[in-house]
């Protein structure tokens, strides 16, 4: 009988103590914290900005396997174009670009993670489409990269149009808009084809290089990066068809219904373009001595506050810690074989699409 009482007594004891603890901590899930789940999780929808400030960290959904946009180095740190924009958000909202927690996501699960509040912002080469805007409960913000879907084939094949690929195997990543566009375009033109779907580029590339697919369709930026890589490592010469299958505007995404947070993210991101337009970069933004009132507003001189919920010096934080758009672009994108010149990602004054509303 001794043991019976023991268990009853201990259960009672644990319950009492757990209740005490829970009451003290304001009902937080203490046992989970004890088990080690500690610091997880983004904030729920509504009041995300306050929640992020309280947690003092931005939880950012990223890609961990996309050259140029999001990769993990041998030392376990994230880097890339998308990753830098996570840092931009952290610098703008929290004043410290390092206060980011990266969550690697697959293409399939990214919107669910956003909806369930697992992440605060999704910056994972996500294409803005009407369906996603409407059905996935997601709000797409300022487009940071204008991409388009293209088709790559080995140069030796001599193919120049999609029609040349009738009946061919075409490599594509699963669960992406790329797959849908491929089916739509080939279907519309009545070209039979066979998709070979892969989970990630780490497996797609060898299949393509070994000739299992005759075509590889993806965002042009990715194709360019892999073309450079394959040719650079002594592989066959590659050809990217001139035809662009679809428009692929990529940008940060937040959950629907939290305008305050959306504004904070969007203006932090747009600050990088604004700084570029003003000719400010991480080197000179701290030492600006001119008297352009727009720039002075932008730098938060005299505590200019448009009421976005951001601190007045957020632009300085963003640009000094991460850089302006051109700096971010140059850090990652030329390395994968794309240049800014002549692309839609150039500043509007040079004929590109990077145009932000005035900060005043």
């Amino acid at each position: 009988m001794k043991r019976t009482k023991l268990f009853a007594a201990l259960t009672a004891l644990m319950l009492i103590l757990a209740a005490c603890t829970a009451a003290e901590d304001g009902g937080a899930a203490t046992t989970e914290a004890a088990a080690g789940g500690g610091d997880g999780g983004g904030a729920a929808a509504g009041g995300t900005l306050d929640a992020v400030r309280a947690a003092d960290v931005v939880v950012c959904g990223v890609n961990d396997g996309l050259p140029g946009f999001g990769v993990v180095g041998a030392d376990g740190t994230y880097s890339g174009f998308d990753v830098d924009f996570c840092r931009v958000v952290a610098a703008g909202v929290l004043g410290d670009a390092d206060k980011v927690e990266y969550k690697p996501l697959t293409a399939d699960v990214r919107f669910t993670s956003l909806q369930s509040g697992d992440i605060d912002v999704l910056i994972r080469n996500t294409t803005w489409t009407a369906t996603r805007d409407g059905q996935e409960g997601a709000s797409f913000l300022f487009t940071v990269f204008y991409d388009g879907q293209g088709m790559m084939v080995p140069a030796s094949t001599g193919f120049t149009t999609l029609e040349d690929l009738a009946d061919a195997n075409i490599c594509v990543l699963s669960g992406t808009t790329t797959e849908l566009n491929l089916t739509a375009v080939f279907g519309a033109r009545g070209i039979p084809f066979n998709p070979v779907v892969f989970e990630d580029n780490a497996q797609l590339r060898p299949a393509y290089e070994e000739g299992q697919c005759e075509g590889w369709t993806s965002d042009s930026s990715q194709l360019a990066s892999f073309k450079a890589a394959i040719e650079g490592e002594g592989g066959d010469e590659q050809f990217i068809m001139a035809e662009i299958i679809s428009k692929e505007p990529l940008g940060p995404v937040v959950s629907d219904g939290d305008t305050e947070w959306a504004q904070a993210v969007e203006w932090s991101v747009m600050a990088t373009v604004q700084a570029w337009e003003f000719g400010l970069d991480s080197g000179n933004i701290g030492s600006y001595s001119g008297d352009n009132p727009n720039i002075l507003n932008f730098l938060g001189t005299d505590n200019f506050d448009p009421g976005l919920g951001l601190s007045s010096d957020f632009a300085i934080q963003v640009v000094t810690q991460v850089g302006n758009y051109k700096e971010i672009f140059d850090r990652h994108i030329p390395a994968i074989g794309l240049s800014l010149e002549g692309s839609p990602n150039n500043i509007w004054t040079d004929g590109g699409l990077m145009y932000v509303p005035p900060y005043r």
């Binding site: 009482k5 023991l6 201990l10 103590l17 901590d25 789940g37 500690g38 999780g41 961990d64 490592e233």
Partner: protein, 466 residues
């Protein structure tokens, strides 16, 4: 196996070959075909391992494979964890070895004590894997080199120190078990942090201990003894709680774990959490109450009837929505939850098997002694049934360990998932694809093989002891 029986004396090697390779004409034919074939395959495999393989992708990213994106500044936590776990395992093994030695001596049997060398030899696959790691580490720069040696060296030393627990006198044996569990918890928390709320596991361990060993025998009244026991447990638990509240240092939660570390920890956490649930399910399934039985059976059959990956997808897509709006669960928390609920169903079946295998006479003997059903279950049936199913439980753990590779499909960076991010790195895009896969396979194999060997050994010993 008949073929490995000890050779009779004065058998020459020629005799051996005749007997084991050319017993009759078809045996000889098979030998002649298979021998060169297997030698050739072994040659190709070794050549790949040591000559033709492009192992740079593994070498450079060795740390990434081991700990993934876990902050390099916090690496001391992992090193301490390995050492403390090694200490805990050492103490546990030492205490266990001393206990079985004493039992054998009581029974008048003459047994040899286990040795560290013997333990390492049994775990040869793990030793070989660690050797492979060190080999890769030594061929790279010093940055990678120091840590593996710290891990391995520290682990070995602490394990050896802990093993000395077998020298403890018999009356301290329970202290050995208590230390083992304490160090396991502390080893876990050295990484996850000593938060104010982290007192629960140690609180349970020490609370139970205090309750059972409180010196209350000189009091007559049973209610007084109970009250004093309760008071002792309460004091101990409150003290532990106070210590944790005073320390209250956050660590690195499991959301930030990855690599092999995550693989091992996720499997361990899930199996530990699943055990009580599985036990309850097994009891419910064998209950005479139809409602309990039906619900438990339905749960077990549904979970066992679907693939883990669909449950993991469900977890990723749905689990975030079945909790209230203001609670968020990270991807790893959800994965652990799913693996726990998944394993519980399998553990329930294992435990049920153990319960069924127990002769009915055991229960009847308990009834004859006038015991109520709960004590019969707890003091007669469960101890025997649970001991009998230990090997199957180890098997379930191995299976869970292998299944944890599925987390890579839902973008959790465990051991297999690290492969994907390595091949996104500039230097290794499309380079060393087969090598990283082989390395991962060797890693899984080394752990699973060592554990399956231990489980077979346990099974043999349990069979003998019965």
């Amino acid at each position: 196996m008949t073929t490995t029986a000890p050779a009779p004396p004065r058998e020459t090697s020629l005799d051996w070959v005749k007997k084991n390779l050319f017993r009759n004409w078809w045996s000889g034919l098979i030998s002649v075909i298979l021998l060169p074939l297997s030698l050739y395959l072994a040659y190709r495999a070794l050549r790949f391992l040591f000559v033709t393989g492009q192992w740079d992708a593994v070498r450079v990213n060795l740390t990434l494979f081991m700990q993934g994106t876990f902050s390099r500044d916090e690496q001391w936590r992992l090193i301490s964890q390995i050492m403390i776990f090694a200490l805990a395992f050492g103490i546990g093994l030492g205490t266990n070895s001393a206990a079985s030695h004493d039992r054998a001596q009581d029974a008048g049997l003459d047994v040899e004590r286990g040795t560290i060398a013997g333990t390492l030899a049994r775990m040869w696959s793990l030793v070989a894997f660690i050797g492979l790691l060190l080999f890769f580490a030594t061929t790279d720069d010093m940055g990678n080199l120091i840590n593996p040696f710290l891990f391995v060296g520290g682990g070995l030393v602490m394990g050896a120190v802990g093993y000395q627990a077998r020298r403890l006198p018999r009356r301290f044996r329970n202290v050995g078990w208590l230390l083992t569990m304490t160090f396991l918890v502390i080893g876990f928390q050295i990484v996850s942090g000593f938060d104010a709320g982290g007192w629960v596991p140690l609180g349970i361990i020490f609370g139970v201990s205090a309750y059972s060993i409180a010196p209350v025998d000189r009091f007559e009244a049973s209610w007084l003894r109970g009250a004093l026991r309760f008071a002792a447990a309460l004091i101990v638990v409150l003290a532990i709680r106070a210590v944790y509240a005073a320390v209250d240092t956050p660590g690195i939660g499991w959301d930030d774990w990855s690599g092999l570390h995550l693989t091992l920890m996720v499997s361990a956490i899930a199996i530990v959490l699943a055990f009580p649930l599985g036990l309850l399910l097994a009891l419910a399934r064998r209950s005479t109450l139809p409602a309990l039985r039906i619900m438990a059976t339905a749960y077990i059959e549904v979970i066992r009837g679907v693939p883990l990956i669909t449950l993991l997808f469900m977890g990723q897509f749905i689990l975030g929505f079945v909790v209230p709006q203001d609670v968020t669960l990270s991807a790893i928390t959800r994965a652990i939850a799913v693996m726990t609920f998944f394993s519980a169903a399998y553990i329930a079946e294992i435990v049920r098997g153990g319960l069924q295998a127990l002769p009915k006479g055991q229960t009847e003997a308990g009834q004859a002694l006038g015991l109520a059903p709960p004590p019969i279950m707890r003091r007669i049936v469960l101890p025997q049934a649970l001991t009998a199913v230990i090997p199957a439980m180890v098997g379930q753990f191995i299976s869970l360990f292998k299944d944890s590779s599925l987390l890579s499909i839902i973008a959790v960076l465990e051991f297999l998932g690290v492969r994907k991010i390595i091949h996104a790195q500039e230097a290794f895009r499309g380079v060393g694809i087969a090598e990283t896969l082989v390395f991962v396979a060797i890693g899984y194999w080394a752990f699973a093989f060592a554990m399956s060997r231990e489980s077979q050994r346990l099974e043999r010993r349990l069979r003998v002891s019965r």
